[in-house]
Symmetry: C2
Subunit: 321 residues, 2 copies
């Protein structure tokens, strides 16, 4: 059995590499299975422990995730590493339980319009799916973590603004369905730091000790500022992708997920210990450059290098902001 | 006579375009005088009112600033527009007063090591220079604003960390010398948002109503997060450059000043009225692309576009954060 608070200790900042899933969701080319293994191993050596490894989707339509089981096995082979796999329907859920992955992530839309357009299901239907996933979890011998991510929680590609009250009550409903963690995602990168601070603060207080994930995109350059605001508001689990992999199909050349390297620098500068070696992390970009030469990698730190002398080595607490 | 509080009203966010000076400090190629005029006119049409136009330096060594007087004249011809010119020595100061520019900016290093290495003068010598500039101002008929920018205030390329106590007392000394405004600059982009928040808060409280400028670089991707922290700490005057022009010679490909367009988006998202039309501002980048094809322009908003519907049009106050 996997305990959510062991994987995501309270007051410890956890940075999750989501490049292997969200970063590859929309790309034309993608790394070989061996390259993904190397990506995981080298980031593990740099100190990364949490990896979103892929989705359980039809390999015919999503070949980039056909090897999700191999990547899960690679993460499972590393002591203290934690794999997360996404499921979008019952079949994917059954496959994920069969694969024995330690964390299964589901997605629910913040707005009814996006839920219907994106999944042809209402938010109530999605909540019912979450309930079934949690029931399967409770019957499963390995008892994985089941997490729900609320997409478009800070802005919707269809409705624009999103009512934070609706997001908070949707998060409450997710916990009522029995999920172990809830995430709020700025899927299209609409938010600014004040909005992120306010919603994160409300969700963290509502969650009453349950782990809360904040998943941000840098589409409009606010990614790191929003991450800083989320940390100030009490978030301790943040997603990012190496080189900011994961652009937006509607905005060619747009930046993708928050750049993982810059996110580490932000956390360390705020006094949070990430346990991640930035020099080693930046070096892993070479795998992406080799495997995905057509993809533009983002990130300022990789270009500029660390300040000298680096502040990384100085006295830090794990909780100070 | 130019009153600092008329040019920089308290509690009104002022975003200053410094691309014409800081953005051109280190470039190989630079826009023609006519292109600079067009740059100023089009940004003015987009709502920008404050322009750092150049430096009074020997044209032989800094040809990009040889036309500083023409750019000042262009700004002066626009109703409500405000030009700022940099001076680095007494001769430049005399030239600036003779040119009648409305604001004269001087620079002083936060650390003695950088002051000696960069100007071969101690910080005390620089403070004395400031005193002379203020004396010239008091005798000048047009009585320009004299401002002091403290470079390396948040990290020094020579000493690394910088003692905030030294920066605060240096800022106090600058006001004692009679300057109208003081700026703190993260010249090499070392800072994170917590550090920026703490120093800005101390400087704003010390300044007791005098205008305080926060000048940030995005060298390590923290620019917008640092700007957000500066606003939260009470800063109301921020510098940026169109397309983030102004890279670092020690870090090839590194980002430069905070991207002006993204800075506008940040402020509006935080509820500050900038008076700047983002669509029009982004369009001005075409001038830089045409005039400086070798320079990489940064900025996420220009790539991704505004959220739809844009939040820019919604009810905002001028002071809310």
């Amino acid at each position: 059995m996997t305990d959510a608070r062991t994987v995501y200790p309270a007051n410890r900042v956890v940075l999750r590499e989501v490049g292997l899933r969200d970063g590859l969701q929309l790309v034309g080319s993608f790394p070989s299975t061996d390259a993904k293994r190397q990506w995981v191993r080298e980031e593990f050596a740099a100190g990364v422990r949490h990896f979103e490894v892929g989705s359980f989707l039809p390999a015919s339509r999503f070949p980039q995730f056909a090897d999700v089981r191999e990547v899960i096995a690679e993460v499972d082979a590393l002591p203290g590493a934690h794999p997360i796999a996404l499921v979008l329907n019952d079949r994917g859920g059954r496959d994920a339980f069969a694969a024995g992955v330690a964390e299964i992530g589901a997605v629910i839309s913040a707005t009814e319009a996006h839920s219907l357009a994106n999944t042809r299901r209402s938010r109530e239907d999605s909540l019912a799916d979450l309930g079934r996933l949690c029931a399967m979890r409770d019957e499963a011998s390995h008892r994985p973590i089941v997490s729900a991510a609320i997409s478009m929680a800070l802005g919707c590609s269809l409705t624009g603004d999103v009512d934070p009250d609706e997001v908070v009550s949707l998060a409450e409903r997710c916990f009522e369905m029995g999920v172990d963690t809830v995430g709020i995602a700025d899927t299209v990168g609409y938010a600014g730091p004040s909005q992120v601070h306010d919603l994160t603060n409300r969700i963290v207080r509502m969650a009453d000790g349950h782990p809360i994930v904040v998943h941000l995109h840098d589409t409009r350059g606010m990614g790191i500022a929003n991450a800083s605001a989320a940390l100030d508001a009490g978030a301790r689990i943040l997603d990012g992708s190496l080189g900011g992999l994961g652009g937006c199909p509607f905005a060619p050349g747009a930046t993708g997920n928050v750049v993982f390297e810059d996110l580490v620098f932000l956390c360390e500068s705020k006094g949070f210990v990430t346990g991640i070696d930035l020099e080693k992390l930046v070096a892993v970009r070479a795998i992406l450059q080799r495997e995905m030469p057509g993809e533009q990698l983002h990130g300022a730190l990789a270009k500029a290098g660390l300040p000298k002398p680096t502040r990384m080595m100085e006295g830090k607490s794990n909780t100070a902001a």
